[in-house]
């Protein structure tokens, strides 16, 4: 077998134990029940369709039923065949997934490039005790990630831990291999590599010789996990009600009620039904996605679990966080609530509720300021405040957002706040900054202002230091690249 990344081998050797357990080059299969789970989605949508059709025309649903059964049978058969031809293996620090009957596909995912490993469960999978393993790699192409659906729940958890440990070991090995010959001073480079890998904050792995968390090591040898955050269902419900979705729901319900009231006939509801259903689905998705969110600081990163029917478990390495954002919508501010999102490079695998894949990952769907502060202190080691307000004359240009504009920085993070109604504060680690852009529109030029963007590899977050005095923007522009470089080269 070819080894796409030979330079991982030293890392493997250094890692020792964690690698060996899985690294037997044996081929594994997915769980035999997985076709059922995967067909479950089609099954559910078909059932809904069937229901809708039979409600609409009560007369000839017999023929439809037959067709539906046939379609479901085909889906199941297809799933079974795809299960038969799918197998996976972990060898030489590469996860390999072979699949496909007619069009064979062999996907290799170098573990050193894995950004995160998630465990997700749909409702049906939960009933059957199965789970899906999702690997995220950097890059905008979702096809480059990997997906193992489904495994036994316990196996999935175990495999997740092992893969994470191997990934940590492998990426450390790669770094070392790359840095050592170039720098010529092995110890320094090694230190930098370790420093780069270790979380930049108090989440730190047990100080000591090996930051390579022994995923395989006995759990007893690891420090106990700390619970950082636990959402309260009441507050979640209240927060969703006070959010935009909630407002839309109230509007839709009110409009429907008004229409019924005016016309005086219950049949007036019918045209509103699709809208109401859509709104209800939106509410449900938010609630289901965020319900029971628990965040735990584990040795291998921040573990995040959430979901009511469909649960997900993710591990986020603090060292891979590209940006942290705290959002305070207007109504939530009155209650002192906020949301905390993190942005990680790499896309999630597409799955049932796609909307979630396009959002940032909400670590705290809704929490008090104190909770957000505490989480921030875990994620952002030194927390600079957006203490420098925008110059007075910005009022002319941005009367609504003027009072929120501000920025601040230290030698490791930059923070910028903005927003008109919703206040957004974004922290970006300087070592993650990909490029810096200075921008000046015509109105800004008149007023002697400029905006500086800091781009990171996340999906959509870029810290935007908006509307600064030209001279200050220029100073930012000339200072930040140097600061970022210093932060990158591991000057901690």
């Amino acid at each position: 077998m070819t080894t796409p990344l030979p330079d991982e081998l030293p890392g493997q050797a250094a890692a020792g134990d964690p690698a060996r357990a899985l690294d037997d080059s044996a081929w594994h299969r997915l769980h035999p029940l997985s076709p059922l789970v995967r067909a479950g989605r089609q099954l559910a949508s078909l059932l809904v369709l069937l229901f809708g059709i039979s409600v609409l025309n009560e007369h000839q649903n017999n023929g439809n039923l037959v067709i539906d059964v046939v379609v479901i049978a085909i889906a199941l058969a297809g799933g079974f065949v795809s299960w038969l031809v799918t197998r996976w293996q972990v060898a030489d620090g590469v996860l390999r997934i072979d699949t496909g009957l007619l069009r064979r596909e062999s996907r290799r995912i170098p573990l050193a490039q894995v950004q995160a490993v998630d465990v997700a469960q749909t409702g049906l999978a939960r009933v059957l005790g199965l789970a899906e393993l999702q690997l995220r790699v950097a890059g905008g192409d979702s096809a480059r990630g990997g997906r193992l659906a489904c495994l036994r729940r316990a196996d999935a958890e175990e495999l997740r831990r092992e893969l994470l440990a191997m990934a940590a070991a492998a990426s450390q090995g790669t770094r070392r291999a790359r840095l050592a010959p170039a720098a010529g001073l092995v110890s320094g480079a090694e230190q930098a590599a370790v420093a780069d890998l270790a979380p930049p904050c108090s989440l730190a792995r047990p100080a000591g010789p090996a930051p390579v968390t022994g995923g395989r090591a006995t759990p007893a040898s690891l420090p106990p996990a700390r619970v950082l955050f636990r959402i309260s269902p009441q507050r979640l419900a209240a927060a969703i009600a006070a959010s935009r979705t909630g407002a839309i729901a109230v509007l839709a319900a009110g409009a429907t009620a008004a229409a019924v009231e005016i016309s005086g006939s219950a049949h007036t509801v019918e045209p509103f039904l699709p809208v109401l259903l859509g709104v209800a689905a939106g509410l449900w998705r938010q609630f289901n996605g965020a319900y029971g969110t628990v965040i735990v600081a584990a040795p291998d990163g921040i573990q995040l679990r959430s979901g009511l029917v469909q649960t997900t478990a993710e591990t986020i390495w603090p060292g891979r966080i590209q940006a942290v954002r705290v959002t305070e919508p207007l109504i939530w501010r009155a209650f002192g609530w906020c949301r905390l999102d993190v942005d990680v490079a790499g896309v999630r695998q597409r799955r049932e509720n796609q909307a979630e894949g396009q959002r940032l990952r909400a670590l705290i769907p809704v929490g008090s300021r104190a909770e957000a502060e505490q989480m921030l202190s875990e994620l952002v080691a030194s927390r600079p405040r957006p203490s420098r307000p925008a110059p007075q004359r910005v009022r002319w240009k941005a009367p609504l957002s003027y009072h929120f504009l501000g920025w601040g920085s230290d030698d490791r993070y930059v923070v910028a706040s903005r927003g008109r109604v919703c206040r957004q504060t974004t922290w970006v680690p300087l070592e993650k900054v990909q490029s810096i852009r200075w921008e000046q529109g015509p109105l800004q030029r008149r007023l002697g202002l400029a905006t500086v963007h800091l781009d990171v590899a996340g999906r959509r977050v870029s810290a935007k230091i908006e509307d600064r005095d030209s001279a200050e923007a220029l100073e930012i522009l000339s200072r930040l690249p140097d600061l970022a470089r210093a932060a990158r080269s591991g000057g901690r």
Partner: protein, 187 residues
């Protein structure tokens, strides 16, 4: 737009200078070292852009004129003339837009600037470049030009340099790739 209370004392990026001064002399911020030497795209880029404007304007005015002529001859002539005038105005503005492009190689990063109305200046560290594209459309190819595009892991950092002579583009690409290799950093 009314000018606010403290218009004076803006040392750079002042209000009036950029709109009234000649092309290329607009006040660009040059971070840290003032002796950054800006390199420009080939003068042929202006010609390429002019041809582009012509290619769009002439058929458009013809079609517009014919369509207007179905109503009345005067309307047709008016529409055609209006489109032509718009094309000419765009042509006048082209020179400044083309002149605004520039790039500078510094020790650790590349600067790229562009834009007249909204001015942008990007700083891209060599170590952050993931890959570099050289592309050339049919028009650019016929003039011997090419566009170099730098990609970082961030989708937002859009840095490209159009209208480089093909050999210069290849040299720049290789140079940047080598620099990127030397400065490489992980995500």
């Amino acid at each position: 737009m009314s000018t606010p209370s403290e218009p004076a004392g803006r040392p750079r990026g002042g209000a009036a200078d950029s709109l009234s001064s000649g092309p290329g002399r607009a006040s660009w911020p040059t971070p840290s070292d003032p002796d950054v030497s800006w390199l420009r795209p080939s003068p042929l880029l202006l010609r390429a852009r002019r041809i582009e404007v012509g290619i769009v304007t002439l058929p458009l005015s013809l079609v517009g004129g014919l369509a207007g002529a179905t109503v009345s001859a005067a309307a047709g002539a008016g529409i055609a003339a209006a489109i032509l005038v718009a094309g000419l105005v765009a042509e006048r503005l082209l020179a400044r837009r083309v002149a605004s492009w520039g790039y500078a190689e510094r020790q650790d990063d590349l600067l790229v600037r562009r834009g007249v109305l909204v001015r942008r200046l990007s700083v891209i560290p060599y170590g952050r470049m993931q890959y570099i594209d050289v592309s050339a459309g049919p028009l650019e190819r016929s003039l011997g030009l090419a566009t170099v595009r730098m990609h970082t892991a961030a989708a937002a950092s859009d840095a490209r340099i159009p209208g480089l002579e093909r050999a210069a583009a290849a040299v720049l690409r290789d140079q940047l790739a080598a620099l990127g290799e030397a400065h490489a950093a992980g995500l």
